[in-house]
Structures are given as C-alpha cells and as structure tokens.
C-alpha cells in the first residue's frame, strides 16, 4: 500500500533526519514506527502526507509516486491524528468531525449522517455531543473525536503521531483497546508513531525500530522479541521481559529495589 524506496531527508543545516530508509506497509495493517527521540520516526510519518518533503528517494502509495498527487488532495484522503489532538476550539464537535467532508464538498445530509455514525462508533451519543465545544470535553473524549475526525472522509490510510501520548495511563489503555476494536472493523492501513514500546507491541502488526534516521529492524512483535537484530533492539525492549507463546506475548516485570 505504502512503499518507501531509499528515502532520505537532510535539513539545510546539515542534520540528516532520515537516512536512506526503505520499507513497505501492507494494506490493512498497523505499522508502528518506534524509536528514541530524534530517531526520525515523526519525520518519516510526515513524509507520507507531504508535510515534509524528502530530499531523495521515492514514496509510492498504491504504486503511484506521491509527487504525482496534488498534496492538498492527498492530505484530504489520508487521516491525520496528532498528539496535541488539535481540535479547533471555535468549532463544535460536529463541525470538527465534519471538516474534511466539508473540504471535499459533501452534501449536508451526507455529512450529518457520517458525523452521527462516527460519534456512535466511538461511543459518544450524537445528540449530546454534536453541538458541544472541545473545551467542554475531557482529554479522552477529545482524542476519540480526533480519531473520528481523521476517519470522517473514510480514508484508506490513517497516520497517527503519538496520538495517546498526552493522556493518562487509564484513558490511554482504554483508547488503545477501543482503537484495536475499531481497526478490526475498519481494516485501515495505519502508520503509527510512538516512543512507548508497550504501546507498539500491543497495537502493532509490524514494528519498525528506528535509530538515528535508519530502520534497525522491521518485523512482527513476536519476531522482534525472539530474534532481536542487535543489542540496541534488545536494550530498547528494555527491562520488560517479554515471553512469547505462539502468538501471545506475556510480560514479566522485574523491579530491583
């Protein structure tokens, strides 16, 4: 679905954020970019919807070079969820969710129905929430709506940049579970950035472990745990001791006092 071929990004000041990376994201999978800060994961994500332009390499979506797409049209067909959520405070929940459909000139009726359906999908009663303003909502509600907004025009690809990073642990876990449930239904192609290895393992179908702008290992969580490519990966998996049992991963934690 999404293909990166020898992509690099060098900034004018010489800093190389992404060094010659190549990978493929399969349709319908959750592909996680994970690594320590500064590893280039967010840059890589933003190259997909052309918020950042690479300095070399090619990016293909459905076998078409993304340079051949109009960037505005491209972005309207890719869902984008950010950590700060970014709901527009001066618009209602309904207006926020309906934004991309509005940009795509959907009819009023279509928009209304879609907003209603989405709110139900994320477990919020439409009649109550459609006219509320973001400032009246909790963090968890806001991010659910952020996700709904990204899904509103029914894009095939959804990009998520540490979407649950600003939430408390309980809400985070809730949203992760809800997200997995949603994904089972919708089967979107998701590229997900996080620095939280637990989250990566929980959500990802495949992980791309990044370091200093390159990918160190790209594989399923089970394989990464059982066959860590190098010490860095092993250290990154951390003090969490993971045990795999077929396709189940169990976690053991050691706390040294």
């Amino acid at each position: 679905m999404i293909e990166f071929i020898n992509v690099s990004k060098i900034y004018p000041d010489g800093h190389q954020a992404v060094k010659d990376i190549s990978f493929t994201v399969k349709e319908g999978e959750i592909f996680v970019l994970i690594g320590p800060s500064g590893c280039g994961k967010t840059t890589t994500l933003k190259i997909i919807n052309r918020l950042i332009e690479p300095t070399s390499g090619r990016i293909l979506i459905q076998e078409m070079d993304i340079n051949n797409y109009n960037p505005i049209v491209l972005r309207r067909n890719i869902g984008y969820v950010i950590q700060e959520i970014g709901l527009f405070p001066h618009l209602t929940v309904g207006e926020n969710i309906g934004l991309v459909p509005h940009l795509k000139k959907w009819t009023k009726t279509d928009k209304k129905k879609r907003i209603s359906d989405l709110l139900k999908m994320i477990g919020l009663e439409p009649d109550i929430f459609i006219n509320k303003y973001p400032m009246q909502l909790s963090g968890g509600q806001k991010q659910r709506i952020g996700v709904a907004r990204a899904l509103a025009a029914d894009p095939q690809i959804v990009l998520m940049d540490e979407p649950f990073g600003a939430l408390d642990p309980i809400t985070k876990e809730q949203l992760q579970d809800e997200f997995l449930k949603l994904q089972r239904k919708l089967q979107k192609t998701v590229v997900f950035v996080t620095h939280d290895i637990m989250e990566a393992i929980k959500l990802g179908d495949r992980l791309a472990i990044m370091r200093n702008g390159t990918t160190v290992q790209i594989d399923s969580p089970v394989n990464i745990i059982n066959n860590s490519a190098d010490d860095f990966v092993r250290r990154f998996l951390g003090e969490h001791r993971f045990q795999t049992d077929g396709n189940t991963i169990r976690m053991e934690k050691t706390i040294t006092k």
Partner: protein, 209 residues
C-alpha cells in the same frame, strides 16, 4: 450646571448633527483602516521579515502629534473631510495592523499543523482557522483604534472637517465654557459608548474560544 443644560437644550439639533458628522468621520477612517490594516497584518505573518519594518513605520506615525499630522495633510489634500479622514486613517492603522499580526501569529502551531494535515489550502487555513481564532485580538485592536480616533476627530474641526470639535473650537474662541462642554461631553460619551459596545463584541468573540 443648569446653564450648561439650557445651552445644551438650545443647541440640541446642532449638537446632534455634529455628533453624526463626528461618527461619520471616525467610522470612515476606522473602516478604511480595517479594510487595509487587517489584510496588511495577515500579509506580515506571511512575510515576517517585513513585520519589524512595517510595524515600526506605523508606530512612528502614531507618535506624530495628531495636530501636526492634520497640518501636514492640508497642503496635500486641502481642507475638509478628505485630509481629516486620511490623517485619522493613518492614526487608526497601527493598533489594527499590530493586533491582526499578533492575533494570527498567536494561533497555536498545532492547530495550523492539524489544518494543513487535513488538506486545507492556505486560504482555507486563513479563513477557517487563523482568522476566527485571531478575531478577539483583532477586535481589541479595532476597539483601541476607534476610541483613540473619536478623541482625535475633535481636532479635525480645525481644518474644516466638522464634527463635535467644531463646538469646542468655537467655545475656545468665544471663551464660552458651556460651548466647549457641549462639544466635549458628547465626544467623551461617544468614546465611552463605542468602547463599551466593541468591548461586548470582543467578549462575545472570545467566548467561542
């Protein structure tokens, strides 16, 4: 006190007419300043290198004593409402340009990113996100501009533009305190009223955010 009220009563129609003239002058000047100042402020956010220079020039204009500025206009535009409105317009610019610039600049970068990521064009970003969010600040600038302008408009009677200043100048030349007050009091009330009105609008707009 009673003297003043009697004076006011006798010349009521004249005062009303002059008040209307006064409002017209202020409205035209501030209106022009909004039409030119807001786009200019937005432009400055796109070309930030210019902002220091443009805001600097506007600041300097503001420091020119209003009377002097009016005087400068006469050889260029003659007497009457034209030079008055030009001078008043120049005075009204700074608060509006500066507040538009600050307001739009002050929109959270994450909201800009969200907007662009969603596929908004630059124009859509401007009128769907930046301007609505900057509106309270812009409104505050318009309000400041208007209130200052009402005061300066009183000077315009000197160059034949009419308005409540006319009564003040006549009162000065006749050494008639009631006449001066008949011009000054409505002018002050006008300023207070507009300040209140625009303040309410400002409040309404910020509530949404």
């Amino acid at each position: 006190m009673i003297n003043f009220f009697n004076f006011f009563k006798d010349r009521l129609s004249e005062i009303a007419l002059l008040t209307l003239e006064h409002i017209e002058l202020t409205a035209m000047a501030v209106g022009l300043a909004i039409i030119i100042g807001v786009p200019l402020g937005i432009l400055l956010t796109r070309y930030k290198k210019l902002s220091a220079m443009v805001l600097g020039i506007a600041s300097i204009i503001q420091t020119i004593p209003s009377l002097a500025l009016l005087g400068f206009m006469v050889p260029l535009f003659g007497i009457g409402t034209k030079p008055a409105i030009v001078a008043l317009f120049l005075y009204a610019l700074l608060p509006i340009v500066r507040n538009t610039f600050t307001g739009v600049e002050g929109v959270e970068p994450t909201l800009i990113e969200a907007g662009i990521g969603m596929g908004m064009t630059n124009f859509q970003l401007l009128y769907m996100v930046e301007l609505p969010l900057a509106l309270p600040v812009i409104m505050a600038g318009i309000r400041t501009s208007t209130v200052i302008n009402v005061g300066i408009t009183t000077l315009c009677a000197l160059i034949g533009a009419g308005g409540l200043g006319q009564l003040i100048f006549r009162g000065i030349s006749m050494v008639n305190a009631n006449m001066i007050l008949a011009g000054a009091v409505p002018a002050a009330l006008l300023a207070l009223f507009l300040d209140f009105l625009l303040g309410q609008m400002e409040k309404l707009l910020s509530q949404k955010n």
